[in-house]
């Protein structure tokens, strides 16, 4: 589930984007967070990304100066998320999930 807010905040005038990803369990969401949060954004400036988990949802919030910077970061995140999900599906311990 994705929500796009084009908030023209008078203070920052930054573009905002929010992604909520539901998982089957809180543990799954926290594993995804553990895998996706360590790496820094390749771009030095113009983009800020925050990840957090509440219950079994992973929430990602972006704040960017320009649309194309936001697009590249979100695109890249979705590729990475998809790889993490595929890995979890293929290699989850047999007993759980």
């Amino acid at each position: 589930m994705a929500a796009t807010d084009r908030e023209m905040n008078p203070e920052s005038e930054k573009l905002q984007f929010r992604l909520d990803v539901p998982f089957p369990s809180p543990r799954d969401a926290s594993i995804a967070l553990g895998s996706l949060s360590p790496d820094r954004e390749p771009r030095k400036g113009g983009i800020d990304k925050q990840l957090m988990v509440t219950d079994r949802t992973l929430t990602v919030r972006w704040s960017a100066d320009e649309a194309r910077i936001l697009r590249v970061s979100v695109d890249s995140f979705l590729d990475n998320l998809s790889l993490v999900l595929e890995t979890m599906q293929m290699f989850a311990p047999p007993a759980s999930q």
Binding site: I31, S35, S37, P38, P42, N80, F91
Partner: protein
């Protein structure tokens, strides 16, 4: 008994290997090969790795005859290397480490090469020449660090060879360096090329731009063939490497040389280094293409050493980095 799985994908090779107490149980690998005249770009390379990594992981476990529960530690390449390919591999390593409840270990790629070289050849305390498409360093161990005695001040020797391969548009299959080596064997004329050694260090950008510019003119005017240039390029750059290796050996009073990294597969380089070693009464050690070329088992082996000496990488510290000096790592597993 300690079993470590290692994930490697910092350039165009993606490999996952499993080591149990010095025994390589499995070491499958895939190479992203681009058409002649083209190099590999980070995003395409990452896409290649993403497409095959889970299959390679399954192969690694199956070929070793192991289940995830049998693994003691998950090692992966923290750096150096290309950004997006490194991330792709780190994501899978972090995910399985958490799924299987195993400790994680971020490994320096260069140290992976060194530790695999040490394991396979059983060299005692060699001067190491690490040469690949991305790195060119002369390394010696001293007091808990792999010290860099000499290195390239610009591009790696393998990068020079790969770029020349693109200029003459030869195949990148199995690797451009391999094909240059085969063509060099048919060369008969030595063409003088710039030779650049600066003290303990080397420089390859000069010879690269020279040969990129001159190659077409020289070949089309019939002055020499592409094979002659392959031969001359190898003779020149390999001589430079032998010179700085010898200099480091003289400084350290070392009687052993270990060549690691993809360019280390080159038999002409091994031959030239062998001549120098014989003149100094020193021993030469090298490995074959299974372990010279980037592979997962070398990461597993370095990880095995690090893990057994008590190191572990916390998730929040497991970020990848494109720049990671060999001497940044504390070598806790040696005296």
């Amino acid at each position: 008994m300690t079993i470590v799985i290692g994930f490697e994908g910092s350039a165009n090779k993606i490999g996952i290997g499993i080591i149990r107490d010095g025994e390589v149980l499995s070491n499958p690998r895939r190479t992203y090969i681009t058409p002649p005249g083209q190099g590999f770009l980070p995003s395409d390379t990452a896409r290649h790795h993403r497409a095959v990594i889970l299959t390679v992981l399954k192969e690694a476990l199956e070929q070793a005859g192991l289940k995830p529960a049998d693994i003691d530690c998950v090692a992966f390449t923290k750096g150096p290397g290309m950004g997006s390919p490194l991330v792709t591999v780190a994501l899978v390593a972090r995910t399985v480490a958490q799924l299987w409840g195993k400790p994680l270990l971020g490994v320096n790629h260069c140290i992976g090469h060194i530790e695999m070289g040490r394991l396979i050849t059983q060299a005692d305390n060699p001067t190491v020449l690490y040469v690949s498409g991305g790195n060119t360093q002369v390394i010696a161990y001293s007091e808990r660090r792999y010290r860099i005695f000499g290195e390239t001040i610009d591009i790696a020797v393998g990068n020079c060879l790969d770029r020349f391969a693109r200029v003459i548009k030869i195949s990148n299959d199995p690797s451009p360096g391999y094909n240059i080596e085969q063509m060099a064997k048919k060369g008969s004329q030595y063409v003088e090329l710039p030779y650049t050694v600066k003290g303990m260090d080397v420089s390859f950008s000069g010879i690269t731009s020279y040969i990129e510019e001159a190659a077409h003119k020289m070949i089309s005017s019939g002055q020499c063939s592409a094979e002659d240039l392959c031969f001359s390029l190898q003779e020149t750059v390999f001589s430079m490497l032998v010179e700085i290796t010898e200099r480091a050996m003289a400084h350290c009073g070392s009687g052993e040389v270990l060549i690691v990294g993809g360019v280390g597969c080159n038999l002409r380089l091994q031959e030239m280094m062998g001549v120098m070693c014989e003149e100094r009464n020193a021993k030469l050690f090298a490995t074959d293409e299974r372990f010279c070329i980037d592979n997962g088992a070398m990461i597993a082996q370095a990880g095995w050493e690090m893990f057994r000496s008590g190191q572990v990488t916390e998730l929040e510290d497991s970020w990848i980095t494109q720049r990671y000096r060999t001497d940044e790592v504390e070598v806790t597993w040696r005296d």
